[in-house]
Amino acid sequence: MALLEIEGLHVEVEGKEILKGIDLVIEPGEVHAIMGPNGSGKSTLSYVLSGREGYEVTAGSIRFDGHDLLEMEADERAVAGIFLAFQYPVELPGVSGMTFLKEAVNARRKAAGEGDIDAMAFLKLVRAKAKGLGITDEMLKRAVNVGFSGGEKKRNEILHMAVLEPKLCVLDETDSGLDIDALKVVSDGVNALRDPARSMLVITHYQRLLNHIEPDKVHVLARGRIRRTGGKELALELEQKGYADFVEAA
C-alpha cells in the first residue's frame, strides 16, 4: 500500500487557486523530489500536507498511511507520522528548544498510550542526534531558533526530524541558504534517516541537493500542476535548461 496518495488536489489561498490538480503517489521507502520555479506552489503543497490553516482544498483527496489526511488537524498529522522541515523555521522566543522537543515527543507517546519520556533518556536521545548535526548543548538550551543563523535553523529542523522519526519527511527547500559544508551536514543527517519504511518528499529549487540526497523520482511542479515526472536524470536536465519550458508553456 502506498504511504501517501494525493488525488486531483485543488487548493485555493485567499480565493486564488494555487494547486490545480495534483496527483502523487509515494511508496514506503521512496524518495521523491519536487522541483519547480518560485511561486509554483511547492510550499503550498507542503503546508496542505502538514495541515496549515488558510489553505482551502476545493477538490481532491489525500490518503496517508490509512488516514484521510484532510480530516486531521496539524498536530494529529504530525503524530501520525508527517513531518515538515520548514523553508522558514519559526522563532519561538521564550520557548526553550529542549522543552519544545520534549513536548513533541510526549505528544506522540501520549497518542500511543505511553507515559512521558524519562528526562535523562530524553536528554541522551537528543544529545546523540544533535552531535552528528553539530548542534551544541548551548544551542539546545536557547529558545527555539532565536538568534540562530540560517544554517543553524536548517540543522535544527533535521534534529527535530531525527528525534521524532516520522514516516514521511517533507523537506521544503532545506538547502536554501546553506553553504557547501552545511549542505553536507544536513544531507548526511537526512540520509541517515533513510529507511525502507520511511518516505521523503524533497522540495528544492536547485539540483545540487539531489547530488547528496538521491531521489527515486523527480517531479516538476509548475503553474499548479505536476508537469513532468522522471528519474534523477530529470534534475540534471532541469539544471541545464532551467524551468523556462514549464513557465512559458501555457
Binding site: E53, G54, E73, D75, V79, F86, E103, A107, L164
Partner: protein
C-alpha cells in the same frame, strides 16, 4: 463645581475629623489637608482624563464599612516558601511583626504620634494627594499600616515579605486604607515582596511611599492577588536619590477592578529605575496599570516593560507617562507595553506619553496588541503538539519573558510560579476549544 464630585462616599466608620482631632499636630495637619483636598476634588468622574479608561461606577455604588475580622487568605505557596521575615497587615493594621534582621527596623503606624524622626520626615511627603483622591482618602484616614527602614549600608539577605490582607463582606463591602512607608538609607539594599490579598467584597485603597537614598537599592515585587469580588486602587509613590536603584515589578492577577499606579521622582543623577509588570485578566476583570516617571536630573535610566494577557471579557489599561525635565540630559528611557488578547471580547487601551524637555536624551516607547501568532502556533502543532498545549506554551513564554526582568532570583522564581499557576487555570483549560 462639576456634578462628578462626591464627598467622602467611601469614608466609613472612623470620622476623619475625629481622627485628626486626636493626632499630634503634624499628623492632624496632614490629615486635615488631605480631607480638605478630598472634599475639593472628590472621586474621579467620567470626564476625569486620568481615569477615562477606568470607570468607577461600581465602586461608587458601594456603601462600604470598615474592614474587620480575619480574611480567608493564604500566601501563594511559592511566595510563602521565600525564606525572609514576613510582616502582616490585616485590614489596614499591622498584625504580625516577626524578628527583623540586623539593620531593618519596622514600626507600626497605629500610633503615628510615636513615630520616629525617619517616619515623620517621609510620611505623607512622597505620595502627593493634590490630584489623587484615593491617596487623599488614604491620608485622611491615616492610622494603621507600617513603616520599614533599611538602615544605612544594611543589606538583609532574604527578601522581606509584606502581606497586606483584607476581610471583605458578603452583601456589604468593606474598605481599608493600608499605609506603608519604606525608607532605604544611604548604601542600603533590600528586596521587598508586597502581596495584596483578601476575601469577599471590599475596596482596598493602599498607599505605599518609598524613599531610596543615595547609592541605595530596593528590589520591589508586588503581587496583586485580591479576591475576584474586590476593588483595588493602589498608589506607590517613590522618591529616588542620586545613584540609587529601584527594581520594581508588579504581577496583577486579582480583583474585579484594579488600578495599580506607580509614580516615581528620579531626583538625582545616575538613577537606575525599572518598573516592569504583567497583568493577567480573565472573565470580566479590569486591570489598570498607570505609571509616571519623572526624570528630573541627568544620567537617569528607566526601563518599563508591561505585558498583559486577557481572556474572556477582560479589559486592560496601560497609561505610562515619562517626563524628562530640561535638566535631565542623557536620560535613557525605555517603555514598552504589550498585550495579548486570547478572546475576541477582550479589550485593551494603551496610552503611552512622552514629554521631553531635554535635547540630549534617548527615549523609546512602543505598544503592541495582538493575538497569538498563527505561524508560531502552526510550528508547534506541526511538531505534534496539540493546539491547547501549543497556546499554553506560547502564552507562558510571553509572560515569563517579562517576569525574567525581576532581578532577584528567588523572587523571580516565585513570581514565575504564581503566573504559571494562573495560566494553567485560565489558558490551558480555555484553549482546548481553540476555534
Amino acid at each position: 463645581m462639576t456634578t462628578d464630585t462626591n464627598t467622602l462616599p467611601l469614608v466609613a466608620g472612623e470620622d476623619p475629623a475625629v481622627l485628626a482631632a486626636g493626632a499630634p499636630d503634624w499628623l492632624a495637619a496632614l490629615r486635615r489637608a488631605a480631607i480638605a483636598r478630598y472634599d475639593a476634588i472628590g472621586l474621579p468622574g467620567p470626564r476625569t482624563e486620568a481615569w477615562k479608561f477606568t470607570g468607577l461606577n461600581a465602586v461608587k455604588a458601594l456603601t462600604p464599612v470598615p474592614a474587620e475580622g480575619v480574611p480567608a487568605t493564604e500566601l501563594p505557596p511559592a511566595v510563602a516558601a521565600l525564606d525572609g521575615p514576613r510582616i502582616e497587615i490585616v485590614n489596614g493594621r499591622l498584625s504580625a511583626l516577626p524578628a527583623m534582621p540586623t539593620g531593618v527596623e519596622v514600626v507600626a503606624l497605629d500610633d503615628p504620634a510615636a513615630a520616629p524622626e525617619w517616619v515623620r520626615a517621609h510620611l505623607g511627603s512622597i505620595a502627593s494627594f493634590e490630584t489623587h483622591p484615593f491617596t487623599a482618602l488614604n491620608t485622611a484616614q491615616l492610622a494603621g499600616g507600617v513603616a520599614v527602614r533599611i538602615a544605612r549600608g544594611a543589606m538583609p539577605e532574604a527578601p522581606i515579605v509584606l502581606s497586606v490582607a483584607q476581610a471583605g463582606g458578603g452583601e456589604t463591602a468593606t474598605i481599608a486604607h493600608p499605609r506603608v512607608l519604606v525608607v532605604v538609607e544611604e548604601g542600603g539594599s533590600a528586596d521587598l515582596v508586597t502581596v495584596f490579598q483578601g476575601s469577599g467584597r471590599y475596596i482596598a485603597n493602599p498607599v505605599t511611599e518609598i524613599a531610596v537614598a543615595e547609592g541605595a537599592r530596593l528590589g520591589h515585587a508586588v503581587l496583586q492577588a485580591e479576591d475576584a469580588e474586590a476593588f483595588h486602587v493602589s498608589m506607590t509613590a517613590l522618591k529616588l536619590a542620586e545613584k540609587s536603584t529601584y527594581d520594581g515589578f508588579v504581577l496583577a492577577t486579582g480583583s474585579k477592578l484594579a488600578r495599580h499606579e506607580v509614580r516615581a521622582e528620579l531626583d538625582g543623577e545616575h538613577i537606575e529605575y525599572a518598573i516592569n509588570g504583567v497583568y493577567l485578566g480573565a472573565d470580566g476583570q479590569h486591570h489598570d496599570i498607570t505609571t509616571f516617571i519623572d526624570h528630573a536630573r541627568p544620567h537617569g535610566t528607566s526601563h518599563e516593560m508591561v505585558k498583559g494577557v486577557l481572556t474572556g471579557t477582560a479589559r486592560g489599561v496601560f497609561q505610562g507617562k515619562i517626563l524628562v525635565r530640561p535638566d535631565a540630559q542623557k536620560t535613557d528611557g525605555f517603555q514598552m507595553n504589550r498585550a495579548l488578547l486570547l478572546s475576541r471580547d477582550a479589550e485593551v487601551n494603551s496610552k503611552p506619553e512622552l514629554e521631553i524637555y531635554a535635547d540630549d536624551v534617548k527615549c523609546s516607547h512602543g505598544a503592541t496588541v495582538g493575538e497569538l501568532e498563527d505561524d508560531e502556533l502552526f510550528y508547534l502543532m506541526a511538531r505534534g503538539i496539540p493546539r491547547g498545549r501549543a497556546r499554553a506554551l506560547l502564552v507562558e513564554a510571553y509572560v515569563q519573558e517579562a517576569i525574567a526582568l525581576i532581578g532577584r532570583a528567588p523572587v523571580r522564581d516565585a513570581f514565575a510560579a504564581v503566573a504559571s499557576e494562573w495560566l494553567d487555570r485560565h489558558v490551558a483549560g480555555v484553549s482546548g476549544s481553540g476555534e
